[in-house]
Amino acid sequence: MLPVTSFRFDPRKWLARFVAPLDGPLCLIVAAILGFATVVMVSASPERLGTLALNVCVAFAVMWVAAWIPPQRMMSIALPLYVLGVLLLVGVALFGDVSKGARRWLNIGVARIQPSELMKIAMPLMLAWYFQCREGVLRVRDFLVAGALLIVPVGLIAKQPDLGTAVLVAAAGFYVLFFAGLTWRLILPVAVVGVVGIASIVAMGDTICQPGVEWPGMREYQKHRVCTLLDPTSDPLGKGFHIIQSTIAIGSGGVFGKGWGSGTQTHLDFLPERHTDFIFAVLTEEFGLVGALFLVILYILLIFRGFFIAAGAPTLFSRLLAGALALIFFTYAFVNMGMVSGILPVVGVPLPFVSYGGTALVTLCLGVGMLMSIQRHRRRVGT
């Protein structure tokens, strides 16, 4: 009897095999965010629902595959992926296509690719792998090496110029260094200098934003973005328009929002990029403070689930990777919501799992899949 049944198709067994690599809490959280995103997208851009569904399917597949891949396998692809990424970035710098004043795309014949996107995952993978290799014999020297590994691609991306991605990649690398035990003596002064620097820019905005004043190491449009953030009204119909309109959208949403599909800012075309970078403004206009806090709570759950996984991860590599991935999610969410609500400059960072865009969704789900894999394989490797 038994052997016979084992040959029969058993849906439960198949389902069990299917869900085996998935992490329940992460799945629930991501599904909740994606569900919310879909609801918002119905209002913001209903014609894109079909593509969104397709993107979600692809991203889910990527996540599932990533969840199947054990951390050991990930370690083995870290270096090749990183080297490939850097080579592509060099390629971009030498032969890339220029679009909107920035050289970001590389035409590889069949398609145009943006290698900086790859670096968002390759960077933490690489650094986590490096620290794993140096486990037990970690020296100051290793942090210098890691710093160099970080600086090269970030510098290449920043030169494109794509400040947003550079910041994200740099942050991803920095998180690994941070979790690997970068000394506070280095972190704290940098943090203090950063805070003081930002504060002084805000304070002296009027002077340094004068036309003709050149900022060292920054392009004119980057200076413009920062200056527009400091005073959006200085350019109400130009660069400040986005910030002004998105803050109006958020503010006018109030506590409970204007209701689904009733966002006037959204539906009367005042919001720029309403289905991509500025979708958070749509969400808050229609669902109010309640909707915004709901999303923030979902992100906190996601990040803390990541921290939880990191805390229980068996190897240094998986710990560093899991912690960095969780903080990458945080960075995406914070930077996007910060820029849409007008406290951070406008950089091209999507709202994780909500903004429309296949590449970002795939990258993020790849990260989630990696977290799942780490969680699933936590006992396979003995400590």
Partner: protein, 634 residues
């Protein structure tokens, strides 16, 4: 910095760092939450308003301008809907090229280009300005087919003001024109600014200007939801415009036409007033102009033509032209004498043909004089000596005071702008008028010629007609007005302009009777006899001839340049016993009043009292009924 540690130590430090990361991320999200709270709760009202302002745009609905009709319902000003081609200079890269390309599709005259140029000088570059008005259906179709080629050029359906009677009565009606910077300033200073959103024309002259408030109407609004590009998405609420009120005038356009035709090519003015109401029956200034030229910005060529014409057609002579009244002044001098007790009707003088003042002879126009002259004869035969002496006896102060009673030298208060004060001579006036002390002094000799309506005397025909009407009404002065009633375009209700008695001159009825009889005598046995021969009604009148140029004893002849000839004047009221019309007429350089001014007065009275039209004037306006049919806003 990282000495070799046990895995337990490593794990512990990692978990500490995780806790720090967790704290920092919570802190950051807390910051975001605070930002949301600030935007959505603290500043909710502000952003809510901003969002509302963003999406709702008020689109003004321009009201139809009220119509202007004469007392018989003949339409003098109306609206019709037509297409206009407008260009926004700031949105057109190559203006000349665009206009050149447009001229392939629609007929654009050099005149149109010049007008656009003028409008561009007067307005801001983002305003849309007409390049061609009143396009034909064919032109409209041609443009629509090629519209994509012309960004910044728009076809607009608009109401146009139209003056179907052309130049008849144009000095009364005035005209509308595009709102310029000065108008804009005035509008913004008034509490009417909102009402002019969307309006681009305003009354510039005449009744169109003085009754702007009545004619304009109340602007309506449509609340439209718009996107950030300003495109209307849907209409939320519509408050229709209230059309402007119609003006129905006291003026009889037929009478106006009779007068304007009677003048022929001569220049001059005539004002006819209904005594006892102050209603103006006709107010003519010739030559006239076509007000239609002004509606959409007058072409510079037309403007130059009007402005540089030696005939000055733009000057409203009836209102703004001050002329010496000549002998038409005598009845008022006589009244002043009676009122002040300086003369009695029977008191007579002997006229030697001149009046001697300090060795200087003020000559009478009749050599050898009129013999014995009492007040009646002094008016009938227009005896100058009588009035030289009277003026001398009265003195300038008394003359100024009593003559001023009749409204000479002050504005009548008629309901259109541009009225001149004229000159009522007095020592005070001279002090104000001149700067040098030697010029400021009043000389006794100057008083003498004041008595015959010469010297510094200068009055408008409106003042003269007004004074005549006051005498005709037994000394009761009514404010002259052109509008009889204002008709609400909404419900047809009428608001009458009630006759407004300004004052009653303290004058004995028998004194007025004396003057009346004398003025009847003028037309029966005096200077007006020829003009009023065979009139079936009793008309009181007085001729006048005002000197333009001193002949210094030379003989008057047709060889004297036309512009140096005397002005001919006539005042009249009729029927003399119960007057329904009083008038003053002036023919510039017309020579003797009896010859050129009196016959015009006769035609006016014949038409007004008898309905008799001079040859060549049709009793009805052909097609006038049909024209009113398509009046927009009716």
């Amino acid at each position: 910095m990282t000495g070799i540690r046990t895995p337990e130590q490593e794990l512990a430090r990692f978990r500490t760092r995780l806790a720090v990361a967790g704290l920092v991320s919570l802190l950051c999200f807390g910051l975001l939450a605070m930002r949301f709270f600030y935007l959505q709760v603290v500043r909710f009202d502000y952003y809510s308003t901003r969002a509302e302002d963003n999406r709702i745009s008020l689109v003004p609905i321009v009201p139809n301008r009220g119509l202007i009709m004469d007392r018989n319902g003949t339409v003098l000003a109306r609206n019709f809907s037509a297409y206009t081609l407008e260009i926004t200079p700031s949105r057109v890269a190559d203006l000349e090229g665009t206009i050149e390309a447009l001229s392939q599709l629609v007929d654009i005259q050099p005149k149109d280009r010049r007008r656009l140029k003028k409008l561009m000088d007067e307005s801001k570059s983002f305003e849309s300005l007409p390049i061609r008005n009143r396009l034909s259906d064919e032109e409209v179709a041609r443009f629509i087919a090629q519209r994509y080629r012309f960004p910044g050029v728009e076809l607009k359906a608009r109401l146009f003001r139209d003056y179907p009677m052309g130049s008849f009565g144009s000095h009364i009606i005035g005209y509308i024109g595009r709102i310029n910077d000065r108008d804009l300033e005035r509008i913004e200073d008034s509490d009417d600014a909102a009402n002019y959103r969307g309006t681009d024309h305003i009354g510039k002259a005449g009744l169109e200007k003085s009754y702007e408030r009545e004619l304009h109407g109340t602007t309506g609004f449509e609340e439209v939801e718009v996107d950030s590009g300003g495109r209307a998405v849907r209409s939320l609420r519509r408050i229709p415009a209230t059309p402007g009120n119609n003006l129905i005038l006291t003026v009889d356009l037929k009478l106006q036409e009779v007068v304007e035709k009677a003048f022929g090519s001569r220049r001059g003015a005539l004002v006819a007033i209904e005594p006892g109401t102050g209603g103006v029956l006709a107010l003519v200034s010739v030559p006239t102009f076509d007000p239609n030229l002004f509606v959409d910005g007058i072409a510079p060529q037309d403007w130059d033509e009007l402005n540089n014409s030696p005939d000055h057609p733009m000057v409203n002579r009836a209102l703004n032209g001050a002329y010496p009244p000549g002998s038409t002044f005598k009845p008022f001098m006589a009244l002043a004498a009676l009122m002040s007790g300086k003369r009695t009707p029977g008191q007579a003088i002997s006229d030697p043909g001149y009046f001697d003042f300090g060795g200087h002879h003020f000559r009478d126009d009749k050599a050898g004089g009129h013999g014995t002259v009492d007040m009646y004869r002094s008016i009938v035969h227009s005896c100058d000596t009588y009035y030289y002496r009277l003026a001398n006896d009265m003195g300038i102060d008394l003359i100024a005071q009593t003559i001023g009673e009749f409204g000479f030298g002050s504005r009548t208060g008629i309901d259109i702008e541009g009225e001149s004060v004229g000159v009522l001579p007095s020592p005070e006036w001279k002090k104000r008028r001149f700067k040098k002390p030697e010029q400021q002094k009043w000389y006794g000799g100057e008083t003498i010629s004041i008595g015959i309506g010469q010297g510094y005397n200068a009055y408008t025909m409106l003042q003269l007609a007004h004074a005549t009407a006051t005498v005709a009404a037994g000394g009761v002065m009514y404010k002259p007005h052109l509008v009889k009633y204002i008709e609400s375009a909404r419900d047809g209700s009428r608001r009458m302009i009630e006759p407004e008695p300004l004052k009653t001159i303290r004058i004995k009825p028998e004194h007025i009777e004396t003057i009346r009889r004398a003025m009847i005598g003028v037309n029966k046995e005096g200077t007006g006899t020829r003009a009023f021969a065979g009139a079936p009604y009793l008309a009181a009148g007085k001729t006048g001839t005002a000197q333009v140029f001193s002949l210094k004893g030379a003989k008057y002849s047709s060889r004297i340049a036309e512009r140096l000839r005397d002005h001919a004047l006539f005042i009249a009221f009729a029927p003399a016993d119960k007057p329904t019309i009083a008038l003053a007429v002036l023919v510039e350089n017309g020579g003797f009043g009896a010859e050129s001014a009196a016959p015009i007065a006769r035609q006016v009275l014949d038409y007004y009292l008898l309905g008799k039209l001079p040859a060549g004037i049709a009793p009805e306006y052909p097609g006038a009924e049909g024209l009113t049919g398509d009046v927009a806003g009716d």
